[in-house]
Symmetry: D3
Subunit: 245 residues, 6 copies
């Protein structure tokens, strides 16, 4: 874990959690590319080695994740919870991830969405991260006593598939149309060689982003779903809307 400099609070580190080695990239890799390009530190925490998937051995998948994170300009660490396809919602997991949050001190946290009709590890990790963000603030949790309390600023959910997009939260759309961003994202997805050999995941994600981008006015865009209302000082912060078509 590396030290974080909070000199520009609006650029406090971004911490992204994934249940499997490729979830973050497929779900919101373009956002990561956009943020690192803008100078924000990004750290990935991956909670299994993808050992239950049909394709790819754990060692290969870990290597793919590391390569992919590097392509996006992010650092990465692996955390062992219950193992791929075995994740359960346990208080101990939330406390463990809260410890990582206290260590990284992120402004923004990304987690897989809570929609239950997807890989069960995704929705469960989303719940665990949501709770972890809260527990990171509480001063009396014994297991966390060594690290200082930390209150994050925002928790956003990403969706690994269209079906995982929550219908009860209005998304924000992050424009990832810049050619270098789109390219970095595509390369990062393609780094998961073991996965894309079997299913056209890259096409799936680019099609999703294109559909959102068409609405946003052209290009590509990735939806993120805020857990809590955004607080604005001025409407000038949100001066673009997705109103084409």
């Amino acid at each position: 874990m590396k030290p974080t400099l909070k000199s520009r609070p609006e650029l406090a580190p971004l911490l992204a959690f994934g249940a499997h080695p490729d979830d973050i990239e497929f779900g919101c890799g373009g956002v990561i590319a956009q943020e690192t390009r803008a100078g924000r530190e990004v750290h990935f925490v991956i909670c299994s080695r993808g050992e239950a998937g049909t394709h790819g051995k754990p060692a290969q998948r870990v290597a793919e994740a590391k390569k992919s994170a590097a392509l996006l300009g992010a650092t990465v660490e692996f955390v062992e919870l219950d193992g791929d396809a075995h994740l359960e919602v346990r208080a101990a997991h939330a406390i463990k991830l809260a410890g990582i949050i206290r260590c990284v001190c992120p402004g923004i946290v990304l987690a897989p969405s809570l929609v239950e009709n997807q890989h069960p590890d995704h929705a469960r990790l989303g719940q665990i991260v949501r709770d972890a963000c809260r527990l990171a603030r509480y001063g009396g949790i014994k297991e966390l006593r060594r690290a200082q309390s930390h209150a994050i600023e925002q928790l956003f959910y990403y969706a690994v598939t269209t079906e995982a997009e929550p219908m009860n939260i209005t998304p924000v759309l992050v424009d990832v149309s810049a050619p270098d961003v789109l390219k970095a994202w595509t390369l990062a997805m393609e780094a998961h060689v073991s996965q894309i050999s079997a299913r056209n995941y890259v096409e799936l994600q680019l099609t999703r982003a294109r559909l959102r981008g068409l609405r946003a006015g052209g290009g590509h865009a990735i939806p993120l779903f805020p857990n809590d209302p955004l607080v604005l000082d001025s409407l000038a912060q949100v001066s673009r809307g997705a109103r084409r078509f």
Copy 2:
């Protein structure tokens, strides 16, 4: 109607619609104060003279509205649709308001929310404005041929009461805690002398804003409800969240 200078596109004029002379102020006057203080031009369009209310004659209410708008730094015009408590959803109304939109060329438009369990004029005006924003873009509408098409950037809804807050849209919260902003808002509400004599509308609005503000971290905040997803270039634009408590 005054000319608008679009030199700083993120500060394109804000256009707010109200069904009655006090709706904008009670629903989102603090946001108006915040935006005019930041240098944005704000224009009010009020669609009745409040003649069906229990208190206040039309002439008095118009005068109150003008005074209130001035306190907030906004310009104001009155438009006659069907009259207070008589508003219906007609295509002709939407086209008329689309004409105003083409004239003012706003970036952001504010309208009363679509929630139906409130004064019927509120929800209906919300529908009319939503449609007007769309019609303002279409090139072939005869009644509008003299003015150039205009595509707004964002449509936000405001709620005049808690019950009028839509439950299916995640709000953004605009921080209105700055003392001068809060004061300007309060004075603007109090300018509606005829109304506040009968019911404690000012307390209602400040209580609402305080409750949102407590969640946002202290102070006061006003919720706005985006009609369409926000498009962001960077997550740095939304670096605060309402996560206290």
Copy 3:
């Protein structure tokens, strides 16, 4: 219209609106029987003569409605809006019904539900009544100046079919299991001879009420859907719940 004695405010008159001559009876006739038996005055306002239905001439249907209301202990009047199958949501209609509300001074108002996937007159009348209840309060509406403002206590929606039950409101269930109540309701439905000859409406309603009644603990029950939260002085007022099965 008859005078109302408000000596027992909890027994202020109940005013029920129906779009067609049989809607109130089919949708909530058991509730009416229960309330009149308890001493409450009930008045029906029927907004068409059912002239667009497949069966029954207007004169016959009016006669059936009068007989049915009498069986339930209610008075009845007919109001002409746009005619059966022609109803539109107009401000003038809401103002007209607001005038009736000011005349009857009800505590509780019943209206057909707002669910749109039913006979269009039903949902539209529901909207008109909802707005009428609000307009009845406002002092400045010219057309209503002769009658004094009146604020009702509660607006409940009834559903003429299962599909018309709103899914976004928690219902209250009115127990109509008392033999005389159930019998009065059944007779009142059967009084609509022209309608029940063609379709098994009575079976439909008794089946609906039985299904709710089974949940409520036996017997029959009719759901009503409050437009606004109930205000309680004590939880003793709501000491039964529908928890069987």
Copy 4:
């Protein structure tokens, strides 16, 4: 646990569950004061000693809870489940709480709401209590064989914060405007000295209640959210509605 006299069934004991020593008071203390004043026995079951909070040692928090319950006229017991910030949804917990329900034989049960975006212990306890109310009825659960089956009448959820108010249930609002009730509630909240030193919880709750009270016609009101439809014998039981504004 004290014996309960069910001579007036509408005043069967009320049983309230809290995840932490202050949850019941902050979420619905005014309701408790209202009910005990009306002669109903109220019993609190608190499922942790608040040991994970930032402020207050467990012993202090237990003492605060006891003092607070006494101020409200309620009895209190502590039950150990998984510990503060460690609660998980386990069948064994529901069975344990079902045993308490069988012992207390309540008519009404109160539990924290099921909304997940709050302290994880709150929503989980809500789930556990909901299940416990059901399991208390089943005759074949081995662990519960010593106590007789009991079917409660109503389960209501309370919300500790605005964000914890469920959006898919229509609330009932309990009027807590009586000066002695409001005072007892305020004192009971202030008894949690360790908590209110850090955050303005009391202001938060009174602001929430004031906002609801304004809608209900003045004063203060607390929302409760029924798990199941209310069953009424007469509409006279619900003769007030929240329709102001």
Copy 5:
């Protein structure tokens, strides 16, 4: 209007309504191609000549619609309601369309979705068609006396854009992957030369269909949203599900 042979009731004519000359094709042209290929008669009713659009004169748009319908194997007629961008929800419109339904005697009807955040003519036409399907059944509507009552079997909504897809109805996905179907659909969209010159509507629709198709197992698919539950004789009728990814 041509005669319809109901020899194979499961192939009763399909009747599709569009607010503008290109709505049916963009929203569900692939479904039309699939159905005509299977031998079903399809008839289009278009309720304006698109005269308010930015591009294309009415005469040109009518010609494009006729060519497009022919490419899909459908017949087409134009009906004048209020004109493009001027449509209002009127009972007279529903009765007029009910007359067409009685004439065509369709099994299945297609209409634009009811989602309000789209071109206002779309949602309003959806409402009018929904009501028309119901009114077509009622025997007493004077304006319709010359034609025999007709009860349709199904009403499905199509969405012209992603944003117009209703979120409260589970869609059925119609597989349009067959090369000739996909080609016919594409050509039919491209026949609207005046429209596709300005915006990439064809890409929009193919991207939408590809995204649904990926979930459905490959190829392309178009969502339709049933107004009422489907009634099945056997689960064998629905033996494929959209479960890939």
Copy 6:
């Protein structure tokens, strides 16, 4: 477990899961009768012996379930998870049920609905089965390595009570009006002698089915709730709708 012949893929075996010995029959026994009559193999997996119920010893309940399954033409097996009223959502359970899915190779799977306000075992089993259907596809799960991956076609939920019907999924209604089907279903429910002695479950289910049947055009119908959109080759597959009343 018996071998399955997939010669007619649209008649691949149906696999139904129940938490207790009578859940499948009460929730969707008529559908089972309909499917076995049409030649489809049906297999029941029951996840407890009902030992926590008020009535009936485990041995008796197992015998009742076997008799009931036989009456419906289904085979049955019992699986031990956590025991009646003790079920928890564990990854190990989903993996165990995924193993059964791989063995039976069903096209359609039935599970209790996910609605939480019912017997907790029901909703939890629904979640476990949903996840099991997904895990059955993944190639790398160690515990499942001996059986080949299997992708089911459809997952439908059934509801054991009206309250357990999900409100966010549009149901399909299976017509069970054929006299022999209705009779087989009734006999299968009555085979649970220990249960129906205490509560009128059979009346409850037949009332539910009658109410749905009335809407579907007469007779009886049972709602099933698809987990994922249905994929159709032709609208002729869904040529009936529930539009009566």
